[in-house]
């Protein structure tokens, strides 16, 4: 009789057989990946993000028009913002640009900003968090006070302030949204480092006389990292919302040839009564992308949580 591997793993007893040929030992990551693959909503999220990633990469091939080419409105009898039609599936915006093309190109900007800004936040946050959690003492006190200060300022205002200071532009947006994320990662990594540092296997490594750097990179970091991975995925979702919020407030990327979903919404309140489609499509794109990252993040959380391990 042959049982699927998952079923055997679930039983918990080996039924008198040699344990070696029942459940092969699996590592945390392999195990987590398997569980993630069985998680339907996480897979749905992954599919959504994969679609957006495809749109982002293949934008010039898919988009019907370049993002800043205009259909002159005079030719459209001057009415602002014709709605969806056969020629322009998502309609035209207030400058006569094809909204579908801009949503497709917008995937590029939004995903790029999300990935880079999370990388920035993660990078700085990890260094600060590792410093605080592993070194401790004065470093811990200084880092945590800095984190407290940053957290005491509402995130969006913080980001607005940074964009205002750095000036408009794509890189500045990434830095602003990234820096706002720093305290979250720093605090998270510090907490999980503190708990790992006290664990038996780290004491064992220390008593074997391993160098602190080796203990940090080989024993502490990999084990402290799984909550960070979950947080990073969820931070992608937040980053997309934050970038869109900045864009909506008119602080987005000033270059019209690089459309971004939030900026596409910036002008829409004025045309809400006559052209609601202008707000609808970029808005839906934001919701889907954010939903996708949230689903993956939730799935990862469950897959990486030892409580759910079988």
């Amino acid at each position: 009789m042959s049982l699927p591997e998952a079923e055997i793993g679930a039983v918990g007893t080996t039924g008198g057989r040699d344990p070696a040929d029942v459940a092969p030992p699996t590592g945390l990551w392999k195990d987590a990946l398997g569980r993630l693959r069985r998680d339907r909503s996480a897979m749905a999220g992954l599919a959504v993000i994969a679609c957006f990633a495809f749109l982002a990469i293949a934008a010039p091939l898919i988009a019907p028009e370049p993002p800043s080419s205009r259909t002159y409105l005079e030719r459209l009898e001057g009415a602002c913002c014709p709605g969806p039609s056969a020629g322009h599936l998502f309609g035209l915006d207030d400058l006569g640009r094809d909204a579908l093309s801009r949503v497709i190109y917008g995937a590029r900007t939004s995903l790029l900003i999300a990935v880079v800004s999370v990388a920035i936040g993660l990078g700085i946050g990890l260094v600060l968090g590792a410093l605080a959690g592993y070194v401790g003492g004065a470093a811990d006190a200084v880092v945590m006070r800095l984190v407290d200060i940053m957290l005491a300022i509402p995130a969006l205002l913080f980001a607005i302030g940074l964009v205002a200071a750095l000036g408009p532009g794509l890189v500045q947006l990434m830095v602003a949204v990234g820096v706002v994320n720093v305290p979250i990662f720093a605090r998270l990594l510090r907490g999980s480092m503190l708990s790992v540092r006290e664990s038996d296997y780290v004491s064992a490594a220390r008593s074997l006389g391993l160098r602190p750097a080796r203990i940090l990179f080989v024993h502490v970091l990999p084990n402290a990292l799984s909550p960070v991975i979950v947080a990073a995925t969820l931070a992608m979702a937040t980053a997309i919302v934050e970038v869109a919020g900045l864009g909506f407030l008119g602080l987005g990327n000033p270059d019209p040839s690089v459309p971004e979903w939030g900026s596409m919404l910036a002008n829409t309140p004025r045309f809400l009564a006559s052209a609601p489609h202008l707000a609808l499509f970029p808005g839906i794109a934001i919701v889907l992308a954010v939903l996708g990252f949230n689903l993956i993040g939730d799935g990862l959380r469950e897959a990486l949580d030892p409580k759910f391990r079988r």
Binding site: I149, A152, P154, A155, I160, G262, L265, A279, G283
Partner: protein, 334 residues
């Protein structure tokens, strides 16, 4: 408990000091200054100099900071450069608008989120549970300003049921002793105005409250599921205590602890979301005020306003921690 509060407040002092320094340095790092904000980019240099002298901006930075901290200790926040109003009186006028909006949003979130979470937990793995899960996922994923625009389009533009901007109909007049319009209307005994204020409050509060609603529903569901399998719940049921009583005293009361944490955390986040909600609904609150101040480089408003928000955030966090002791008698602070 009193000692704990004193210690927490003492710990907040260095944080606030840090915020004040950070904001002080940041506003000076902004390109341009209040003089350019006030007079335009091509202003006469002499006029710019005059404005800078008037506000002490021609002094060395460390001297400016010294003066600023000195005035903070005296609880003086200076005067707005654009409106010439004292920053404190602007806060007194605008903060109630934001507070009213945030309170209404939180009320909506708790009033809908907790029952939804309880229902989802009790009907676990039925369509009710699934629907509330999907709903809360969408609720978490929808940006505030997009939801605000959607609500405004459907209920104000299309259906015309609710007003789309502002806090009170322009044709209604109301004295504003508190600037919390609901309270003002009640104090004046003006029911027509009260109803109108509520109508204005509804859409912004829903837009701002949806994310906390979704999060509260999820946390409540998880907390109720945790508690529902506890021995004391089984014992209470076995004793034959009425179902409703077990739900309220044994389950809900214990499940509320994590929920109250989330409510507190989300209250802090509401201040962030308020900027966007206030923009869409032309709500004259503190979010749009600070946003405008950034555009006009209104240093005193930025320094005072952001510091005020930081104080508020720290106070809310303290209140959340203190509320644990109220909800859970096992929690004691020393």
């Amino acid at each position: 408990m009193a000692w704990y509060v004193v210690r927490r407040l003492a710990l907040a002092v260095p944080v606030l000091f840090g915020v004040s320094l950070l904001v002080f340095l940041w506003v000076r790092a902004l390109p341009g200054g209040p003089a350019q904000g006030l007079l335009g980019e091509r202003a006469d240099p002499a006029a710019v100099e005059a404005v800078e002298r008037q506000y002490g901006l021609d002094r060395p930075v460390y001297e400016q900071y010294g003066r600023y901290v000195g005035s903070l200790v005296r609880l003086e926040f200076g005067q707005s450069i654009t409106s010439h109003q004292p920053v404190l009186s602007e806060i007194a006028r605008r903060f109630p608008a934001t507070a009213e909006l945030a309170a209404a949003a939180m009320l909506f979130a708790v009033a809908a989120g907790v029952p939804l979470g309880v229902l989802a937990a009790k009907r676990r793995q039925t369509w009710v549970d699934q629907a509330s899960l999907v709903g809360s996922l969408i609720g978490i994923s929808i940006p505030i300003f997009f939801l605000a625009l959607l609500l405004k389009y459907v209920f104000a533009v299309r259906l015309g049921w609710l007003p789309s901007i502002g806090r009170l109909d322009a044709l209604l007049s109301l004295p504003h002793p508190t600037n919390l319009y609901t309270v003002d209307a009640l104090l004046a005994g003006d029911w027509e105005a009260f109803a109108d204020v509520l109508r204005h409050l509804l859409l912004p509060a829903i837009a701002l409250g949806t994310i906390p609603l979704a999060i509260i529903a999820r946390i409540t569901r998880a907390a109720v599921l945790d508690v529902i399998s506890e021995d004391y719940v089984r014992t209470a049921r076995a004793k034959g205590i009425a179902r409703r009583l077990v739900d309220r005293r044994h389950i809900l009361r214990n499940a509320l602890l994590p929920v109250s944490t989330v409510v507190g955390l989300q209250t802090g986040l509401l201040l962030s979301g308020a900027v966007l909600t206030e923009t869409v609904f032309a709500w004259g609150g503190i979010g749009t005020w600070i946003y405008d101040a950034i555009r006009f480089r209104d240093y005193p408003v930025l320094q005072g306003g952001i510091l005020f928000l930081a104080v508020l955030f720290l106070l809310v966090n303290l209140l959340v921690d203190l509320s644990y002791a109220l909800i859970d008698p096992r929690v004691r602070y020393r």
